[in-house]
């Protein structure tokens, strides 16, 4: 038996504090072989200590609670000797410490021994977690510069490894950066500012608040770093910061100095941030805008996101119209569908497209990719130039059906004598308005005739046309007569078209249709009544209607008034209804009226939902509400209001989207 084992066995017979003190003293001076044996003994003691455990005897008389100090003493001894421990021993020590590591690190940070405080910083850097990270906020303002430097290095190291952290650790790191930024005047560590800069593309809530506080000394350092730094990461972050009230100027300076293609591409690919108008406006004031864009040869090598970025930037920046059109044209003629669509959309929006832009639209409209060709053809529909007219005539034989329809419509628009196609009464609204202007009586008579007889689809389209042309008072008799038809589709449409008519006949007809046997008719009648008077007694009564669609229409109408406080309660009751079809309709209403206040109810409903239809509709509703919350959040940021009012609702819906 080796002699060390004998001596260690003697040590293990001592009281626990003496054991730990002896082993810690020995570990400090031991060589590698004996050191590892001693460390194992300490690990063994730490593992057998069950912190905060109540040891209860048979009668409870002997029960006692272990003191926290007794539980963490061996851990403290182990972690103080961090630099001596091997990799496996370190991992074992951290695993055994578990959540107690926070208390151990606190004690190490309070220690007068410099080596112990340095060890605390090293542990936080090598094992970043929600328990270890907060200690760095204390160590970064330590009295000793070595400890401050170690904490700075730890913060930088964690910032590089942020992607691998769990959400709690990310939250703790966010809090740490905000605290370290706040105390920048005390420590003056540039590494902290670098770490903050590396998080600028997605700062947490606390760091965001710190960034908004103009009185922070650290912000000056951050602005300086942002201007000087040449890495692609800061270039990408700078795009998001164009909206930022305190960092806007520094971000713009950074974007004016995109010296490397990597930085430029990184910035271009972050184009969604420019969809917020403040960012786009800020970009417009940039100096030397032409230097930003890649040349024609480089465009071919860009990825999709960067190409879309070129389009967005070209639209947002102050360029000469010819330069803007040239850049968009390069992208529009590329093989990539998404970026070509983005370019064509922007080319179509140009107020006066030049010959190059028009040629690009011509070419894009002749490709066999339907969405792109249709978009380009739509952009040319109003172009009166002879070249465009000739081109559109050529497109009537396009392989793409949508493009052919657009070309025919365009030709008809400029040549009204071409007969309308079968099944499309009076062509489009443009043609109908023209006809109404030219000969009102004949047009009204023609619409009446179309409502009176024909196949159902054409009659319904004619009713809608009457509504759009605002000639519904002229066709009132036909609409009232249509209420007696057998086809519920016609009746339902007629009911809806009666809603604008102020006559008592129309009103009586609507009231009669509320009790119609067909649910579509009844629902439309409620919708029409609510359109006229949202607080009508029949609408209020219909809030408890047994037919889901009718009930949903009534509640929706009441919600739109914004004065009826019971409407939200009614919608909540409908969401919690036992009948699945009522829940589906309620989710539709919540989505259409943007009931973000009911997100908790919707999340609860989806959590326990078993019906497939309700789940599908619920997810769609959650997605729509999330989009609204995001828009509001962006608006909040735009107003420079740091209050994340929608955060908690946001989290609840996030898991159901």
């Amino acid at each position: 038996m080796p002699a060390l084992d004998v001596r260690l066995r003697l040590v293990r017979k001592l009281p626990q504090p003496a054991q730990v003190a002896a082993l810690e003293s020995a570990l400090a001076v031991a060589g590698s072989t004996e050191g590892s044996e001693i460390a194992l003994q300490l690990l063994d003691i730490a593992a057998t200590e069950k912190p905060f455990l109540t040891v209860t005897g048979a009668t409870g008389l002997f029960s006692r609670r272990r003191k926290p100090a007794q539980a963490i003493r061996p851990l403290l001894a182990l972690l103080r000797a961090w630099s001596i421990l091997g990799e496996d021993e370190r991992a074992a020590a951290v695993a055994i410490a578990g959540r107690n590591i926070a208390a151990v690190l606190e004690m190490m940070a309070d220690d007068r021994n410099l080596a112990h405080r340095l060890a605390a910083a090293t542990i936080a850097a090598s094992h970043p977690s929600a328990e270890t990270i907060p200690i760095l906020a204390r160590l970064i303002i330590d009295s000793d510069d070595d400890v401050r430097s170690a904490a700075e290095a730890a913060i930088e190291r964690i910032s590089h490894a942020r992607a691998s952290l769990d959400p709690h650790a990310i939250d703790a790191f966010d809090r740490l950066l905000a605290d370290a930024g706040r105390t920048f005047a005390d420590h003056r560590k540039p590494g902290v500012i670098s770490a903050i800069a590396s998080q600028l593309d997605r700062p947490g809530p606390r760091l965001s608040q710190w960034l908004l506080d103009e009185h922070q000394t650290g912000l000056l350092a951050l602005r300086g770093l942002l201007r000087r730094d040449q890495t692609p990461r800061t270039a990408q972050a700078a795009i998001g910061l164009l909206n930022h009230p305190t960092l806007q100027g520094a971000a713009r300076t950074r974007l004016e100095n995109l010296t490397t293609p990597q930085s430029r591409n990184a910035a271009l690919s972050r184009w969604p941030a420019l969809l917020i108008p403040v960012g786009a406006r800020s970009l417009a004031t940039m100096r030397r805008p032409d230097d930003v864009f890649p040349n024609d040869n480089e465009i071919a090598e860009l990825d999709t996101e960067t190409r879309i970025g070129v389009c967005v930037w070209a639209t947002a920046m102050r360029l000469r119209p010819a330069d803007r059109a040239h850049r968009l044209t390069r992208i529009a003629l590329a093989d990539d569908d998404r970026s070509a669509l983005a370019a064509v959309r922007r080319l179509a929006a140009l107020p006066r497209p030049d010959a190059e832009a028009r040629n690009a639209l011509f070419q894009a409209s002749s490709v066999e990719r339907a969405p792109l060709a249709q978009l380009a053809a739509s952009a040319l529909i109003d172009d009166r130039s002879p070249a465009a007219r000739t081109w559109m005539q050529g497109l009537e034989s396009s392989p793409c059906r949508g493009v052919r329809a657009i070309a025919e419509r365009s030709t008809r628009r400029f040549n009204p004598w071409i007969p309308v196609t079968e099944g499309d009464p009076l062509g489009d609204a443009f043609e109908a308005r023209r006809a109404l202007k030219n000969d009102r009586d004949a047009t009204i008579e023609r619409v009446r005739e179309l409502i009176r007889r024909g196949e159902s689809g054409a009659r319904i389209r004619a009713m809608r046309l009457a509504w759009r042309l605002r000639i519904d008072p002229d066709v009132e008799l036909e609409l009232l007569k249509a209420l007696t038809e057998d086809d519920p589709r016609i009746v339902a449409s007629a009911v809806l078209m009666l809603r604008r008519l102020p006559t008592s006949a129309a009103h009586s007809a609507l009231l009669a249709c509320v009790d119609h046997a067909d649910p579509r008719v009844a629902a439309n009648a409620i919708e029409a009544l609510a359109w006229r008077a949202p607080a009508h007694p029949r609408v209020l009564l219909a809030s408890d209607h047994p037919i889901a669609r009718t009930r949903a229409n009534a509640i929706r109408a009441r919600l739109t008034t914004k004065t009826d406080r019971d409407a939200t309660r009614g919608l909540q009751a409908m969401l919690e209804d036992d009948r699945p079809e009522h829940r589906v309709s309620a989710l539709w209403v919540a989505q259409r009226t943007g009931q973000t206040g009911l997100s908790r109810v919707i999340a609860r409903l989806l959590k326990g939902e078993t019906d497939e239809r309700v789940s599908v509709r619920g997810k769609r509703c959650a997605r729509a509400l999330l989009a609204q919350l995001r828009v509001r959040e962006n608006a909040v940021i735009e107003r420079h209001d740091p209050e994340p009012a929608t955060g908690r609702r946001f989290d609840r819906l996030e898991e159901w989207k």
Binding site: A18, A21, S25, A26, I38
Partner: protein, 112 residues
């Protein structure tokens, strides 16, 4: 009967008192520093003489360590011995043989 009760009561009281004293001693913190307590306890178990304990303390001071560390770590003891240099060879060998060498127990027949 009453004598038995009195005797039982006295015995119970004595037992309770013994338990209370034991518990109090067990729970009360040691007057010494833990590492000093450990050094004295292990030195006693190893039957070190006062002279040998003093040598350990001197050696520990030379390498800025606790005496218990030298008592556990042979490598540290050797290092301190080399650094201190004033310990006689006899003393060093005596300590080596008592603390760090593997000791064989004598067979029972020789103990009789």
């Amino acid at each position: 009967m009453s004598g038995l009760l009195i005797f039982g009561g006295i015995a119970l009281g004595a037992l309770t008192l013994a338990w209370a004293v034991t518990w109090w001693v067990w729970r009360s913190p040691p007057a010494l520093e833990p590492h000093e307590y450990a050094f004295r306890a292990i030195a006693r178990r190893l039957r070190l003489t006062n002279r040998q304990k003093a040598i350990f303390r001197r050696l520990a001071r030379s390498i800025d360590a606790d005496p218990i560390a030298l008592l556990i770590c042979h490598e540290a003891f050797i290092k301190a011995l080399r650094r201190e240099g004033s310990v006689s060879e006899n003393d060093a060998q005596a300590i080596e043989s008592r603390v760090f060498k593997k000791r064989r127990r004598l067979p029972r027949v020789f103990l009789a």
